[in-house]
Amino acid sequence: MTSRTIYAACASGLIFLGAACGGAEQATPEGRPTTPTDSVASPSAMTSPGLTAVEPWARPADAGKNTAVYVQLESALPEGDSLTGVRSEAAERTELHESVMEGEMMRMRPVAGFALPAGGRLELRPMGAHVMLLRLRDPLVPGDTVAVTFEFASGRSLVVRAGVRTP
């Protein structure tokens, strides 16, 4: 399965992997079509073994502003994969980013994907790789949760509910 397959699926608007309850849920490569208006309130996650989200969290931020989601993704899979997409209903846009220090400057760049090694770990953390939520629809305050769908090149996906907190 390729990222093009995922792109096609997204473009068709047929597949939306919505949020599900409690921590991380695992999803099958096949997916299951739901309505595009799916949201946190109407869970429809799919599962497949081998992917775990450890300690997902998001920073508080005001509506209209941007924020970041962090998590450690752990693979128990025999083959490597890569995180190639992120989606969330919490924001107008959701992107994979990396903060980089260049000389004495801090910059942020969009990234097409991050590798998840076989049996290994991908760490999204402050001042590094992160999920960027752009233009939040509602304010995120400590105690809230925000659902983010992580999409992999293999076609797997993982729905993660990140608790909102200050570090």
Binding site: A61, N66, H97, M105, M106, R107, M108, M127, M132, T166
Partner: protein
Amino acid sequence: MRSVVRITLLWFSALGLGCVERPWHGIVRSPADPAPSLVLAGAADRPETRVRLDSLRGQVVVLYFGYTHCPDVCPTTLSDWARAKRALGADTTGIRWIFVSVDPTRDTPADADAYARQFDPAFRGTAPTDAELALLLADWSIAAYPEGDPRTPDYTVAHPAHTFVVDAEGRFRLMIPPGVRADDIADDLRRLR
């Protein structure tokens, strides 16, 4: 044997005289020249957003140049400040914490101030006018520029990585890089206060 005792005593007295130094956690600027000027008018109806660095002589000033739409680096830095401030304990008078937006297109002085206060009520924020921004970037020999399409709401801003620290005599003393632990930031500020 007696000479060993004498040398040991000498060594301890040298410590007492300050011949042995404790390293700083931030990057020490040498020479510690007077800080460049920083004069920002702020919002007319919000006097707390007005900044005149040279009027803060006698206080340690902790400065960061960022933007309020920054999702990762700026909030991480201000959270580190907040933890450093807590590590300093109840008495943090004598230290001023100022967040200066370098994104005047999106940030008003009031926006930047509200943003900074989210991290600690003692933190202050402001934003320059375009003209003030050009001047402060030149005066501090720093850069800040939008990346992506600045006509869309989603552009990002490249900005200085370090927290700048001006001592009570108005000298630009330290640059604290991202990633320095809050306890270590507190340690540096305690020494400057």
